[in-house]
Symmetry: C2
Amino acid sequence: MNRQTMNHLPSRLVICFALALLCTTSWNTIAAPKNVILIIGDGFDDQHVTMGRNYLTGMSGTLILDGLPFRGAVQVETLSASGEPEYVADSANTATAIATGRITSVGRVGTDIADEDLPTIAERAIGAGLRVGLVTTSSITDATPASFLAHVSSRSCEGPEEILGSTYYGLPQPVCPQDAKQNNGPGSIIEQLFSSKAHILFGGGQKFLNQIMASGESIRSLAEKNGFRVITDRDELSEIQTDQAIIGLFDTENLEVKWRGSDGRRAAPTETSWLHSLSDFLGEATPPEIMECEPNPAFAATPELASMTATALRHLSASNESGFFLMVESASIDKQSHKRNPCGSLGEIAQLEEVLAVSLEFAGQHNDTLVMVTADHAQAAQILPEPSHYSDYPVPIYSPGHTARVRTREGSVMRINYATNNGFSEEHTGANVPLFANLSDPKLLKPFMKQRDLYHAMMTFLGLNSGDNELKD
Amino acid sequence: MNRQTMNHLPSRLVICFALALLCTTSWNTIAAPKNVILIIGDGFDDQHVTMGRNYLTGMSGTLILDGLPFRGAVQVETLSASGEPEYVADSANTATAIATGRITSVGRVGTDIADEDLPTIAERAIGAGLRVGLVTTSSITDATPASFLAHVSSRSCEGPEEILGSTYYGLPQPVCPQDAKQNNGPGSIIEQLFSSKAHILFGGGQKFLNQIMASGESIRSLAEKNGFRVITDRDELSEIQTDQAIIGLFDTENLEVKWRGSDGRRAAPTETSWLHSLSDFLGEATPPEIMECEPNPAFAATPELASMTATALRHLSASNESGFFLMVESASIDKQSHKRNPCGSLGEIAQLEEVLAVSLEFAGQHNDTLVMVTADHAQAAQILPEPSHYSDYPVPIYSPGHTARVRTREGSVMRINYATNNGFSEEHTGANVPLFANLSDPKLLKPFMKQRDLYHAMMTFLGLNSGDNELKD
C-alpha cells in the first residue's frame, strides 16, 4: 500500500459502507420486480430533448428526465424487405423491436420480414397473468401502440376497412389481405387490439368504432363483447371502475396537441428579395418572425396524457398482486416534427415530462416499478444558431428548408430548422436515441444497447421468459 | 421477508459478493487518480457517433466507445456578448467551458464575456506539477486546443499577425489589440501556447513558426527559447527524447484528413429535371451517385492521431510521479461536416476510435487514468432514409440541401444530409452531446451534466483545487 492509498483509507471505508448500505436498502427493488412503465417519446432524439430542455427549463435548466439515475444510448436497427441493414427506421419497425426483441422492416407491426407473427412483451405479460395498458396521444391503432398487441404486415391496416385498401395523401397504402378475418387472419389492428386481454387502451381512433367487420358486427360491439367498457369522453376517466377493462378513445384519429405556434404558425421558408433571384450573393434574406408557443384551442376537450396515465396506473395496480406492463406514448413529438410545427412538438415534450412525474410518483409508492423513457427513432428538427454564425458575411445566408424562431420561457430565441426534404412531411433521421431509467442496474441496462435489448431488459425485470417460446395468450 | 425475497437470497449473496469484490479490486483506481486523457470529437454528436458506428462496424455493430462503462449527456451552454442564453455554440466557447468550468460567448478563448482571463485545467495542472499535453488534427492554434492554454477575446487571434487583423472567406475577423504584446498583453494564441509550460503540443500550424513577434523574434525562436524542441516531420515522433518539451507541427494549418469520398466527392445538391422547374409536383429528382470512402492521397505524410497520442502518452508518463492532463482532439469531424464531406468526418471518427484504443490500453497499464470522450457541440449532418420514406409518392421528393450516399463497409447505403444553410459552410446545431468514460463513478460523472461540470469532474479526479483561486503558473 503506497502513501496515497493510505491517505485514502477513511474514504475507502466510507465507500465500502455505502456499497453495503446500497446492497441492503436496494434489496426490495431487486427482490420483487413487477411493474414496467415504458414511456416512448416518438421521435424524441437528442435534438428534441434539448429543444424541450431549452424551452421548458432554460439553457442551464434540467428536465425531470435529466435527473434520472440512468441514461444510455440505444441503436435503432432496421432491415430492408430482403433483410439488408437500413439506417433509418419508422415507428412500426422500432416499436416492434422494443415490443418483441426482434428486428424487422419499415412499416411492419409485430411481424418479421417473413411475415411471421412475433410474440410481444404485452402478450407474454398477459399470458403470465400481468395486466397490460397502452396509452398514447395517437390513434390507438397507430404503429407504436399497435406493435405491442397486433401482428400485421403493414401499419396501414388499422381497421377492417383499411386492411383491404386505404390512401394517405392520395397514395394507395399497403393492404394486408392475409391478415383479414375473411381470409381467416387475425383481423386488422383495431380488431386485434380489441380482441386482446389488455386492461387499458387509451388514445384516439373513434372513427374505427363504427367500422363493420367481415362478421357484420361493428368494432364497438367487438369491444363490448370482449368485456371492454368503451368511453369517449375524458370526464369519464375519473368515474370508471377499476375492475373493468377500459377502451378510451378521445378523438376521431390522433389526439389534438396541447400547444401551437402564435396564431397557429409553423416553421416557414425564409423569404428572399427579388435581387437574390439573380445571384446567390445578392439581395436580402428575411427569416420568419419570432413565434411564441400558445395553448392550442383545439386541445380543449382532450385529456392530458398525464391524466390518462394516472388513470391507467390506478386501474393497472388496483388489487393486482401480479404486476403490469404499461406503455405510454407521447406520439406527436414526431407527428408535429413531420409537420414542421415546433410548438406542437414542445407541447408533447411537456406532456412527456408530466407523464414521467406521475410515473416516478407511482414508482416512489411502488418501489418494484421500472420506469424507462426512450425514443423510437430520431427526427428532422435541428436547433440552429440565432442568428446564423455566418450572419456577418455580406451575402444572404439562410436555411434551404423551413425555419421557426421560438421564444423560450427564459426569453431567448431558439431557431429550429426542418430541411430533410421538399415535400409535405419531413423525414425521420438515423441517430441513436436516448434511454433514461429510474434505476441504474448494470445487469439490466447498459450504457449502449440495441433497441431489441430493451425487450429483454423489461422481460427480465418482470421475471418473464424472454426466449423464443410460443405465444401463450 | 416475503417469499419472493427468499427466493432471491442466493442472488443477493452473489450481488453483495460482487460489490465487495468491486470495492477491493477497484481500490487502486480510487486511491491514486492522476492522469486524465480527455478526447474531444469536434462536432461528434449522436448523428456523427451513429454515422461512425454504421460505417465502421455496421448497423448492429459496436464502437469501442460503445463498450465504455459510462455514458451520459452534456448540455452545451453559450452566452451572448451581453450575457443572455444562446442555444448554439462554437468550439471556442465550448472548449473554454470544458477547460475552465465557466461559460462564455461564441468565439472567446479562455476569457469570459467581460474579457477576464479564466484559469484553465491545463494551467492549474502545470501549476501543481503535472505534465500537460495538447494533441489535435487542427492547427495547434485552433479554438479547441487554444482554450486550454491561451486567453484572447477572439479565436481569430492565432498569431502575432492575426491578432491585429485577418480575413476568413474574405471577411475581416475580430482583432484582439488588448491581448497584443505591443500593448503589454499576453500575445496571440501561438505566443501564449509557446510560452506555456506544456510538455507536448502536437497538431498543425507550421505557418506560424516564421511569424515575427513585436519583439522582432520569430515564433520558432520563442519556442526554442522557452525550452521546446520543434519538429515538423512525423518520422521524428519516434526518435525524440522523453525528457524534453516538444512542439510538433505537421502541416501548414490544419492536418489533412485520412479519408475522402470517391474521387474527392462531397455531398451535392440533388439534380432536378427541367419539368420540375415548372412545378413542385412535376419532373424528376436524381440524387447524387453513391460514393465509397477512400484514402485521401493528401494525408500521406500526416501522422495518425493515434500515433501522436501514443507519443504524447509516452512522454507525459515517462519518469513522472505527478500525473498528467492530456487533451486529444479529433478536430475535423466538425471541419469536414462544415464542408459537407462525410468521408472526411468518418475518417476522423475512425481516428478517434484508434485514439480511444491507445488510451484504454494505456489506462489498462496505468489504472489511475481517467479516459473521457465527449463532443464540444452538435453539427449539421443527419442520416436520412435511403431512399426517402416518401419515394413512392408520384412527385419528386428530395433534400433541399446537400446529400451524400455513402456505401458502408457492410454494403448498405447510408444517406447523409447537410441542409442548415445555403452558404459555403454548414452551421453547428444545438443538441446536447454525448459523454463516455472508462469509469462509472456517480460522485464524479452523472448521467446528465453541463459542459462546465466536466472541468470540475476532471479537477476532482486529479485532486486539484477547482475553485476560483488565482492562476498559479
